[in-house]
């Protein structure tokens, strides 16, 4: 078993790759009552076109299959629902789908092994019928409609639509009512059989655990032992430029919401991702963070009342930065941010600002280890990007002001910037 230790947060992670290809990761945490388990597959909403191992022709499926599977896996052949079974054990089960993975999880304080039986049973035993697939369409339809009423979702989805033409992050993870209607049990089985192979999956355990024991217990419960070949995923090529610079929608809201998106025109090398991510977080904070000169000015001019939130999202096929918030003058916010970026390019980043923001990022990376749920989700998400989460703390010192200045030039380009507004 591989053991990686981080001396700053004083934590360890144990990693074992099983014969059937499944990766098991254990993050022991002493002195807490909670235990957290995630079983995730590298299959998300963007995986709609692929070649099944052993085949030649391409398979294309409607949008929303990964999420549909997430809903349907709980249903068992004997008529029970694993969500119910787990709930009856007093554990807290859940599942979620992202652009690049689907995760099944539970949090518990007691009944850990009975719950593990159930988790590993339902994920390995799909049961889809015409009838139960049809019923699920009603529930998923309601879920999609529920998100339709969230202005935050609309302004965010519109930003992605303005940036991306062909990359399927521009549609909701759940798909649309139309695409969901096209899904049937054969499609579900086909995708399940392709993507729910142990070699495409990771299991993550956080809590008071003995790593060797966990590996044995997992092995006992695994039924699939054949390791399949590589799944070839086909992503349409994405133009470098954005689709449109501005997008606007209307909704009953009190103050306009906006998202400024910066689409990267160059996908980074995997080994550089972490360093670059840290630099971009520092840059976003330098440009418009709560101690920035620009935020102070916009606040004093009454253009902004609340701090903006910033994030950087990336996978193997896309990467973008977002700045979002609320203002009566979103256009003005955009103009001023672009001016500030230009100024920082011309005059260089202030040394003191850089060091302070970097110090803050250190705090954020350490704090991420407070809670086992956050730890588990972070490690799983990073794993599918080819990253070990400890790398953020390890690489932190390597990010210099000069490096950040270079990233500023490379990433923050006016022609790659879009504005999405809901008012």
């Amino acid at each position: 078993m591989q053991i990686i230790e981080n001396s700053i947060v004083k934590e360890k992670i144990y990693i074992e790759k099983l014969e059937n290809g499944l990766t098991v990761m254990i993050f022991p945490k002493q002195g807490i009552q909670k235990k957290f388990v995630i079983w995730a597959t590298n299959y998300g909403s963007i995986d709609n076109k692929f070649i099944i191992p052993g085949q030649v022709e391409t398979t294309q499926v409607p949008d929303g299959v990964a999420h549909f599977l997430e809903h349907k896996l709980f249903e068992q052949e004997n008529g029970t629902n694993s969500l119910d079974t787990l709930t009856a054990l007093g554990v807290n089960p859940n599942a979620y789908t992202t652009t690049d993975h689907t995760a099944y999880l539970y949090e518990c304080t007691d009944n850990f092994y009975p719950a593990l039986d159930e988790l590993m049973n339902y994920v390995q035993n799909p049961y889809f019928t015409d009838e139960n697939v049809k019923k699920e369409k009603g529930i998923i339809g309601q879920e999609i409609m529920m998100y339709d009423d969230y202005p935050e979702m609309l302004v965010y989805m519109n930003a992605l639509k303005a940036m991306y033409k062909n990359t399927p992050i521009n549609i909701d993870v759940a798909g649309t009512i139309d695409t969901v209607n096209k899904i049937d049990k054969d499609i579900l089985y086909k995708c399940y059989n392709t993507f729910y192979n142990p070699a495409n999956m990771v299991m993550f355990f956080a809590g008071e655990f003995n790593p060797d024991e966990i590996v044995q217990e997992v092995k006992k419960r695994l039924t699939q032992n054949n390791q399949q070949g590589e799944i070839k995923r086909i992503y349409e090529s994405e133009p470098k430029e954005v689709v449109k610079k501005e997008i606007e929608a209307k909704m009953d809201i009190s103050i306009p919401m906006f998202v400024i998106g910066i689409k990267e025109d160059n996908i980074q090398k995997p080994e550089e991702m972490v360093k670059k991510h840290i630099a971009i977080e520092i840059l976003l904070n330098t440009i418009i963070g709560k101690s920035s000169k620009l935020y102070k000015q916009l606040y004093e001019e009454g253009i902004l009342q609340e701090e903006l939130s910033t994030e950087y999202e990336f996978s193997k096929i896309y990467s973008y930065a977002l700045i979002s918030g609320a203002s009566n003058e979103p256009q003005k916010v955009l103009t001023r941010i672009l001016e500030e970026i230009e100024r920082l390019k011309q005059n260089g980043i202030d040394e003191e600002d850089f060091n302070r923001n970097k110090k803050m990022m250190y705090g954020i990376y350490v704090k991420a280890y407070n809670n086992i749920e956050d730890i588990s989700k972070m490690f799983v998400a990073d794993y599918f990007k080819g990253i070990n989460s400890f790398d953020y703390i390890e690489n932190y010192t390597q990010v210099t002001k000069e490096y950040a200045q270079k990233i500023l030039e490379d990433v923050f380009k006016e022609e790659q910037t879009i504005l999405s507004v809901v008012r």
Binding site: V9, K34, L83, A88, L89, D110
Partner: protein, 425 residues
């Protein structure tokens, strides 16, 4: 569990929670006052002004720079409503010294900084800084008006509003837009002085630290020293049902329908409860709608496929249950009878021992889990503090375990629908 509370002056309590579970230390200060229409808006405004500047760091920029220097100490403030009280909450979270490159006594610094923000704001001409008052008035207006952005939460608040018309519990925690402009600078500052003189003050320090050292820091803090002792102004949470609207016999329950541009209808049903055993009602609520095996989730969502969300919440402090569903607008007439059937089933005792067992396990697990979440644990502590109960997790679990089927069915028969609120297109 290592938890000690100490009254340092009448009405001012420090709560120490020693634990090694986290990378951080968390300090939370609550100023608690009874909800009151005259002061609620002013208090909300004061809270957001305080975060902008202290005598020593008079701008937000300076405060934020200082926080960033402290390895990104997280500071924020907000308004909470617990029972009939308004709580002004201020917190700061810093890394434990063990996880920073060199020891810096971050916790001590954080406590002093937080107290400075609350009790020593920058002033001019006998009030807060004019510019801050102006911008925060706009900000508060936005916050109050943004209530409509989250249609789910909005519907929930509206149902409470209609159910508790004219009683303090209906007061919105951030106050009222129409009152904002009327507030003069002088009134505002007077209210601030009144607030720090009279509010119940609770300071929670959670993390890995030396208690004596922290005790000294707080007791010797000049901002704490200048605070006068104060009488207890917090009434024990009264759960009198007469505070609620009593619909006329022949128009019971009251039904309210509102229109807005929504895709999905939001249904909220407020229940009257004539029983005060909180443990029994907690279990009743779990069986009715708080888990994936609950009656509402199973029948409204899984069997009838009418909703994605179908659940009920128990508001312990007010002893109240609300049923909340997001349904297709045309399905209102289908959903209501199904929901009523569930309430009837509960009355008839149409639930199994397994349902009770599941509810208990879910509860116990949640209680245990609270103790692994720094912020949630403090939220639990303060709500216990305000209802005059000791924060004793073991006692809580024992009480839950002793609930019987007879008690649940008995409670079910003392429950009726008070208000049906529907947000539709």
């Amino acid at each position: 569990m290592e938890y000690i509370a100490e009254t340092i002056k009448e009405g001012i309590k420090v709560h120490y929670r020693n634990t090694k579970k986290y990378k951080t230390n968390l300090v939370t200060v609550f100023l608690t006052v009874p909800l009151n229409k005259q002061t609620v808006t002013k208090n909300a405004l004061i809270t957001s002004i305080l975060r902008l500047g202290t005598k020593s760091l008079p701008t937000q920029e300076e405060i934020n720079k200082k926080l960033e220097e402290m390895y990104g100490a997280e500071f924020n403030c907000g308004i909470e409503k617990i029972g009939d009280n308004q709580l002004l909450k201020f917190y700061i979270e810093v890394l434990n010294d063990e996880f920073i490159p060199k020891k810096e006594k971050l916790l001590q610094e954080a406590i002093n900084q937080l107290l400075e923000i609350i009790f020593n704001p920058v002033t001019e001409n006998g009030s807060f800084v004019r510019k801050y008052i102006e911008t925060e008035k706009v900000n508060l207006k936005n916050i109050i008006e943004s209530k409509i952005n989250d249609k789910d939460q909005y519907s929930f608040e509206r149902c409470i509003d209609e159910m508790y018309k004219d009683s303090p519990y209906s007061i919105y925690k951030y106050g009222y837009v129409e009152d904002i402009d009327k507030i003069t600078d002088e009134e505002l500052y007077n209210q601030y002085q009144e607030l720090i003189k009279t509010a119940k003050i609770d300071i929670y320090v959670s993390g890995d630290y030396n208690q004596d050292e922290i005790k000294d820091i707080i007791k010797n803090n000049p901002n704490i020293q200048k605070l006068p002792p104060r009488a207890n102004i917090i009434e024990k949470q009264n759960v009198e049902n007469d505070a609620k609207v009593v619909p006329e016999i022949n128009s019971r329950p009251q039904t309210i329908e509102e229109k807005m541009n929504v895709t999905q209808g939001k249904l909220v049903i407020g229940l009257d409860i004539n029983d005060d055993n909180k443990y029994v009602l907690g279990i009743y609520n779990a069986i009715l709608g708080a888990t994936a095996t609950s009656k509402l989730f199973q029948n409204v969502r899984e069997k009838a496929s009418l909703a994605y969300s179908a659940r009920s919440v128990y508001v312990r402090q007010k002893n109240n249950i609300y049923i909340r569903c997001g349904i297709e607008i045309n399905n209102y007439d289908k959903a209501i009878p199904i929901i009523y059937d569930q309430l009837e089933d509960m009355k008839k005792g149409d639930f199994t021992d397994e349902d009770i067992d599941t509810a208990k396990k879910t509860f116990i697990s949640a209680i245990k889990a609270i103790q692994d979440e720094q912020d949630e644990e403090i939220t639990y502590f303060i709500s216990q503090e305000l209802s005059g109960e000791k924060p004793d997790f073991d006692e809580y679990m024992n009480q839950i375990n002793s609930v019987t089927k007879e008690q649940i069915q008995d409670a079910a028969n003392k429950i009726s629908v008070n208000t049906i609120y529907f947000l539709t297109k």
